[in-house]
Amino acid sequence: MLLEINDIHKKFGSGDSEVQVLKGIDISVEKGELTVLLGPSGSGKSTLLNIIGGIDSADYGYIAINGERTADMSEKALTEYRRKHLGYIFQQYNLIPNLNVKENIEVGAYLSDNSLNVDEVLRTLGLYEHRHKLPNQLSGGQQQRTAIGRAVVKNPDILLCDEPTGALDYNTSKEILQLIESIKTKYGNTIIMVTHNSAIKNMADRVIRLHDGKVRENYVNTNRVAAADLDW
């Protein structure tokens, strides 16, 4: 087991405005799995992803990656944890605006001792021709591909994707999903993808459905379909 999520509780606010976002989440993720976290808005899926990513902390419970608990880590150790194990993809891409495509990916490569070849990643992502462009000269799909490149180039154990297609149209979304799928196949990363698009669950190895801060469903998807065949 690569990732163990144990009895995670998280609340925001206090007094009358207190909201219990996560109410005891227990999940295990195996190495090389593509896990889709599904749920409506406010179900706590992004909060859970942030806790897994070490950019937010749980009030109770713990996350362990290869048996190493993040709750026990100092800020420095958390930085090292993210640096060593994680890649992050956001809905809004969060590219560095003053770096070109290649440089954005190199920012990710810099962090790893066994990073992938940047040019090869650029070609895999279909961005080689655009490598000298700034993010604002790219379409949304190209920007998200760059963000994926930045995340995968350091060859992380776990790739965290927070609504990676949330800001994209249908065709571009499918392109991005195919890309994520091909990366998993090519580089063998473990992927946790947060989405509210239930059609995406069909490409997952494991599906976890959150509702009101609790796990409502957690099953292995035995009828996986290729990303190219998804439809919604």
Partner: protein, 778 residues
């Protein structure tokens, strides 16, 4: 219903307290300094102007070799078409003992009668009532460490100090009206009763007559016309009566009266210029911070615009808080200006000048200059900057597409350069406008800092140079041509002395007139080495001091003209040699040439050079000495400048550092804020704080250090021009000098000051929230 957006003001102030606090401190400080100096200066100028009537200040004075008869005085009063009233203001002059330094006192009888001119202002103590009592000029007493109740000895008589006074004809204690500078330590004035004054014999008396016109001239131009006319009419009367004119000094030429007013005016002009420079810099900083705020809030603005908020509503909203800070700074700055800084400025002037007491006056002019003008300037610049920024559509704001450079292509950087270095370069390229402003701001701050730091070493260096290049320790200018007590005819070898001839001429450059001391030197002088250019040339060839050559831009071969001050005669000279004599605006020629030029008899002379005190040694009778020029006389200018503007320079140095830190802090903070999402993102990616610092803080550090290293020499260069321009309006010449270590020291000050800011920037990066990147998703 009030605009709900107004509720953001307090939160915005709280969230960005660092930025607003820095701007507030800077503006309040600047306004306090400027308004303090303007209020003190103008209140004192008003008191000074009032003193003309209150103390019946003369319109001029002249000194005669002998006392004038009553008939002559009547003639003096009606000589010119501008009728005058004459008042004898005789004085005794000599050395005072029992003081901390060797000082010269000019003693007047009390001026209490109703017709007396230049009545004195009693500052402390009592006016003299008995023959053994004396009132001294306050600064003279303080500088010589004597207080009320102490005794002093003047011309062999003991006096007890009974009070301190300020004399309106010696606001600045110039011994001679056209001197380079005054020194309130070695020359001062005093008052005794008429009986005490009359009890002195005539050995040391000077027959000075003050005059007032029936109609006071309205300005200096009119005063000059009236003065010239009066001088023209006076000379024949004086000489016909067998007397001779020693000096003639209309008020407008009398630095002892006019210098403080001119100095205060110059200080005010300098401070106002400095303030406007600050305003320009700050206005641009404001514009950049406004720009950064709009960029930061672009989505919010887009949403509000899309929801129906008008441009005007939003512009006013973003205008309100900065203007509130400026207004508050104006109020606090004025309060501090009218209290603490005003007293500081007034004390500074009182330490320099003997001015009458003043009452603080409300200064509308200062309020407009220090508060209204900055307020309007900031308002306009902020408004224009906001209007320009709000030209974009709501959609542009929502898409954060509000910079004109958005679609520009990325500059290609060599991929052989490491990603960290390229990243840093990109940060620099992205923030070029901010960094350009940092460069300008650092330059400006360094100009202020150089100004504050260079004056003191420059004056010390000048003093050292003067000391090392003195012709001799004592120069005696004689009343009559007398031989030394134990010297043989034609030979001065037995005593350490050498005769010289001396004349005072005037050099003109534009409107500027300045005395030039003209020396006639014996051949093969022991005191000065000059070339002998002979006496045959139609235009006499002379050696000129480097002070004269530098100030009036003269080189070997140049011909220049000098004029007699009171007679309509001019002389042309050619520069044959420039000699190292920085202490005086002077020319030198051999005795024969000197006597020929001035139509003097062969062997004439008018003074002695010596390294021995000839008077103390009994070699020269003091009664034969008209003036002694000592080392102290040459050092007056540097000493007085140090006293009069030393404090101001310290203030400038501190303010320079403050300006530097403020500009660098605000702009580097903007760089960090502008990249908050990127910083947050790379933190999420796993970059360590140190690595992020190497990108963002290092980018700013490179620019700041480069700016410091480049602008310090530039500031020094600019300052050399400014200082030379400044000293063009003083008699004498102090060349610009920056000590070799000054520039490295200033770079050091800049870098250390920046290190403090960089430390805060690293803290800011350390505290940068990881959620900044995530918030966009919400």
């Amino acid at each position: 219903m009030n605009n709900p957006l107004n509720r953001r003001f307090f939160r915005e102030l709280k969230d960005d307290i660092g930025k607003y606090l820095v701007i507030f401190i800077f503006l309040a400080g600047m306004i306090a300094i400027v308004s303090g100096f303007l209020v003190a200066g103008e209140s004192m100028t008003a008191a000074y102007d009032e003193s003309y009537e209150k103390y019946n200040v003369e319109d001029g004075n002249f000194v005669l070799a002998n006392e004038a008869s009553d008939e002559d005085i009547d003639s003096f009063e009606t000589a010119s078409q501008y009728n005058t009233v004459i008042y004898p203001n005789f004085y005794q002059q000599g050395e005072v003992s029992s003081m901390s330094s060797r000082a010269t006192l000019r003693l007047y009888s009390d001026r209490t009668s109703s017709e007396a001119m230049n009545k004195v202002c009693l500052i402390e103590g009592n006016m003299p009532e008995n023959e053994d009592e004396i009132c001294l000029d306050r600064n003279f007493a303080i500088n010589n460490e004597v207080t009320i109740g102490d005794s002093i000895t003047f011309l062999g008589r003991d006096f007890t100090i009974c009070g301190y006074v300020a004399m309106p004809d010696y606001c600045a204690p110039f011994e001679k009206p056209n001197e380079t500078m005054f020194d309130a330590r070695i020359f001062g004035t005093g008052i005794v009763t008429q009986d005490a004054f009359d009890s002195f014999d005539d050995t040391y008396i000077h027959y000075q007559y003050s005059w007032r016109y029936e109609t006071t001239p309205k300005n200096d131009a009119k005063a000059k016309t009236m003065g010239d006319d009066y001088l023209e009419k006076l000379i024949p009367i004086v000489y016909t009566g067998g007397n001779s004119l020693v000096s003639f000094t209309p008020d407008y030429m009398n630095q002892a009266i006019s210098f403080p007013d001119g100095d205060i005016t110059k200080d005010q002009a300098m401070i106002i210029t400095f303030m406007y420079l600050c305003i320009v810099i700050m206005a641009f900083v404001f514009a950049i911070t406004a720009n950064s705020t709009i960029l930061k809030e672009s989505r919010v603005i887009g949403t509000l615009r899309a929801s129906g908020y008008s441009k005007v509503e939003l512009i006013l909203h973003y205008l309100a808080l900065p203007m509130f800070v400026v207004l508050l700074a104006g109020i606090v700055g004025n309060i501090c200006g009218y209290t603490v800084v005003k007293d500081f400025a007034a004390n500074m002037y009182y330490r320099s000048y003997s001015l009458p007491t003043y009452v603080t006056l409300w200064n509308t002019n200062a309020f407009i200059k220090t508060t209204i003008i900055p307020l309007v300037a900031f308002f306009v610049i902020e408004l224009v900057s906001l209007i320009w920024k709000f030209r974009f559509s709501p959609l542009d704001f929502l898409r954060q597409n509000i910079t004109s450079s958005k679609r520009k292509k990325a500059i290609r950087l060599n991929s052989k350069i490491g990603i960290q270095s390229r990243f840093r370069l990109r940060v620099i390229l992205q923030n070029l406008p901010n960094y350009a402003m940092i460069f300008i701001g650092v330059f400006f701050a360094n100009v202020i800092l150089v100004f504050g730091c260079v004056l003191s070493p420059m004056l010390s260096h000048y003093a050292d140079t003067i000391t090392s290049s003195l012709l001799c320790e004592h120069q005696y200018v004689l009343k009559n041509q007398v031989e030394l007590a134990n010297s043989n005819e034609g030979s001065d070898e037995e005593v350490d002395a050498e005769r010289f001839g001396i004349q005072s001429l005037i050099i003109e450059s534009g409107d500027w007139k300045e005395p030039v001391i003209t020396y006639g030197i014996v051949p093969n002088s022991r005191y000065i080495d000059i070339d002998n250019f002979g006496t045959d040339d139609e235009i006499p060839i002379v050696s000129v001091s480097n002070a004269l050559a530098e100030k009036f831009n003269l080189g070997v071969g140049d011909v220049f003209t000098l004029d007699e001050e009171f007679e309509n005669r001019s002389y042309e000279f050619e520069v044959g040699q420039v000699i190292d004599f920085p202490g005086s605006i002077a020319i030198f020629m051999e005795e024969d040439a000197f006597n020929k030029v001035f139509d003097l008899e062969e062997g004439s002379f008018s003074g002695y050079f010596s390294n021995t005190n000839l008077v103390d040694e009994g070699i020269l009778d003091e009664s034969n000495v008209a003036t002694e020029i000592s080392r102290d006389d040459y050092l007056k200018i540097s000493r007085q400048l140090e006293i009069s503007i030393g404090d101001l320079m310290q203030l400038f140095s501190l303010f320079g550092i403050l300006v530097f830190m403020l500009i660098v802090y605000l702009l580097s903070k903007i760089v960090i804020e502008k990249n908050a999402t990127s910083i947050s993102m790379i933190k999420i990616l796993g970059y360590r704080n140190g690595e992020i610092n190497k990108i963002y803080v290092a980018a700013t550090s490179i620019i700041v250090v480069l700016s410091i290293v480049i602008t310090v020499p530039l500031a020094s260069m600019l300052m050399s021009y400014l200082v030379e321009a400044l000293f063009m309006s003083f008699n004498g010449w102090i060349p610009y000098y920056a000590p070799p270590l000054l520039l490295p020291e200033m770079c050091g000050i800049g870098i250390v000051s920046y290190a403090v800011i960089a430390f805060f920037m690293t803290l800011r990066i350390k505290k940068a929230s990881l959620s900044a990147a995530l918030k966009i998703n919400e």
